[in-house]
Amino acid sequence: MDSNAILSEVTSGEYKYGFVTDIEMDTAPKGLSEDIVRFISAKKNEPEWMLDFRLKAYRRWLQMEEPTWAHLHHPPINYQEIIFYAAPKQKKELSSLDEVDPELIKTFEKLGISLEEQKRLTGVAVDAVIDSVSVKTTFTETLGKLGIIFCSFSEAIQHHPELIKSYMAMAVPYDDNYFATLNSAVFTDGSFCYIPKGVRCPIELSTYFRINTAGTGQFERTLIVAEEGAYVSYMEGCTAPMRDENQLHAAVVEIITLKDAEVKYSTVQNWYPGNKKGEGGIYNFVTKRGICKGHNSKISWTQVETGSAITWKYPSVVLMGDNSVGEFYSVAVTNNYQQADTGSKMIHLGRNTRSTIISKGISAGYSNNSYRGLVRMSKKADQGRNYSQCDSLLLGDKCGAHTFPYIKVENKSAIVEHEATTSKISDDQLFYCKQRGINTESAIGLIVNGYAKEVLSKLPMEFAVEAQKLLSISLEGSVG
């Protein structure tokens, strides 16, 4: 079969974004101990309360066990082999783009996300994070006029300690789960975004993460706060260079929306998935949670997951305020020996809360792709409404697609619906395309893109293009 040939061609495709930027690093010694936590805190010149928070988390983490319930298999992670802090050496604060290390600029250009281009042409403010320290923040001034704070997390700790104190760990408590607790102890940097009352952020905020030094676990922490009536669309995208040893990534993202506020969070994740034998690749254990704290607020997660050897990620929404809305749209693609266990949690606490989950899983090669989600209607969630749809597409007979939804309903007026289907690309569809003169590869691209369209259409313009490209790179034509 020619489609088999295409499959092998695609599965043997090299990772296009695999290169290493040579920047002098300021790294901590390998391993994790209380001293390392203190070292990170001291390195970042943090106040006492921040160090206390880290130490509290670290001590809790020591008592916790790594979760094993996910449908994932990987060798045990040796936390003493990881470098927990690495920052590009920086001599002074930068005020313009020209002062940024030219090596860095090149890296971004290779990725097609050059700061200049982004800044001048698209009007997107980019907070570029290279190995844990924000190198450059653009548009801060423009945003500053509106009262919007968009800066690195460490900067926020220095300049806006009150905001950080009151909102950090609200959605993801320091002892939430194994990986979130680890993050709380050793997080190095991240982004902080604060939209004041009644402000609609005029541009789409975006952070590009890159993992750069070999053996560096990256521990990002993002906090987005939308005050009453505020709106922001936030984008996060990731590419990482090729590595042979596994790298650990345990990030935390928190979103808090107050009354009438709305946050739209979009992710394209394309980290190094390991080679076609399943060696190397990023281990991605992320805790993402939003709280719709006020009435009529809304949080929407959109994600396109194509990378990482292991993805463990459940963007969740706690619907506390009455009439609040939670959304989750996801496309997860796994190929070769990739494993993904991803999904969403919708916790309905307030009245008339609504949530939607649309998840599309695509598995190829020897990969395993699982949807795992929880929908909970508490006693007070009168008229709560959830609709979940989880579809899986299997490309090849060596891969697996799994669905593990959990539904718990304690309210009689709540309505929860869950639907899931698993199938392969139908021969009829392929045949139809082919007899119209479309070759197999394009036909499959067409069908897969159509299959994922429901989710892709939720992405902001710039991301939708990148996501479609990614889908093509990862899968085009890979049908057995």
Binding site: H402, F404, Y406, S413
Partner: protein, 470 residues
Amino acid sequence: MKNDIIISEISLKEKLIHHFEENITTLTADETPLFKEIRLKAMDTFMKKGFPHTKLEDWRSTNLSKSINKEYTLQLGNPEVKLDVSTIFKCDIHHLDTFLVTLYNGWFLGNEDITILKDGTIIGSFSKACVLYPDLVEAHFSKYASIENNSINALNAAFALDGVFIYVPDNVTVSKTIQIVNIINTEDNLFIQPRNLVILGKNSKLQLVHCDHSIEHKYTFINSVTEIVIGEGSTVDHYKLQNKDNDSTQITSTYFNQAANSTLTSNVITLNGGLIRNNLYVKMEGKGCTANMNGVFLIDKDQHVDNFLLVEHCNTDSVSHQLYKGILDDQSMGVFTGHILVKKDAQRTNAFQNNKNILLTDKATMHTQPHLEIYADDVKCSHGATVGQLDQEALFYMRSRGIRENTSRMLLMYAFAAEVINKIQIVPLRKQIDELVYRRLKGELSDCDQCILDCNANRQISFDIDLSRL
């Protein structure tokens, strides 16, 4: 408080272990080496694992600690039953001639320990079968209900002494429906482990009705394991009817093992019960198997019903359908876990699953976990799960037609359950269950202590509709 429970949990486990060690000679007397080995191995597993707890994924919504935290009596010998069971209990399905088998407090009860029908079908006591047909029993016993990772199976295997044994030879259609009635009637708080084994040869057919009743309101703990082996091209219709009192705890594990081209229909109807956990394992080993699994439960008060299903598609061209429905009232809790596992190379599998539930109060809780795990690509699998309430528009429509609110609700619930009931293929049984469900919805059923199936034999189902308003 919490510590108390844990201490007594340990104490029941330890009591059982102590009991086992003390009576090991009685338990294994007259047993073949294989049985003895299984018993010891099973006890070993139980000692290691203990009772399932909510930290285990498969038991996360069903907490046994309340049931474990009670005093139970363990029986080792078959107590002499002099009385005629029919004087205290009658379980007839009207207009249906069945071959009745009674398990009285877990022990086989009958004039003959083993009956051999004209067509060669063997029906009788499990313990007797172990002695008379050791080869047949040993070939299948504990082959499907694994004792290695499942402490509930292990507990049963360690203590099992009696139950029902059925063997249907090749090419035999058992003419009468076989009805197994489990009756619990005792002054003691019993802890029993019935063990059943059903073996079908090739191209045979069997209809099996399994009824669970309790007469005295006592704390009982029943942990039964049934293994049903379905030979090539054979058909099994299995019906399980549960009507237990609110103090009972019942864990039933039924293992179906299907050879090529076999057909299974399983219906589980739960009308009442304290804590019920039904484990249903369907393993489709051969090609071209069909399995239909249906279930409905109607619960109220503090009742807890957990239906756990694992359907394994191991070979090509098999089809499975699951339809489970539940109506929950008061503070009751329902759990549904349906796991479809399509193994590698089980191509052209079709597996469908549907779970629908209605909550009548804000205090009732429903957990549903419809899981799909698929390792083959040429498959069609789907599942759907809903939790909701009665359709308000339908209610309004009926009320606008002069039907009282209560009656409209009844009608809607009755219709909701009817989708499952209508799948019952034995017509007299369907009619009877239909009637039982109707009476259960009206709240009449739990008032009946005695023979719940025998009264009002030919009464028509009627709804209280105010005709003058029409």
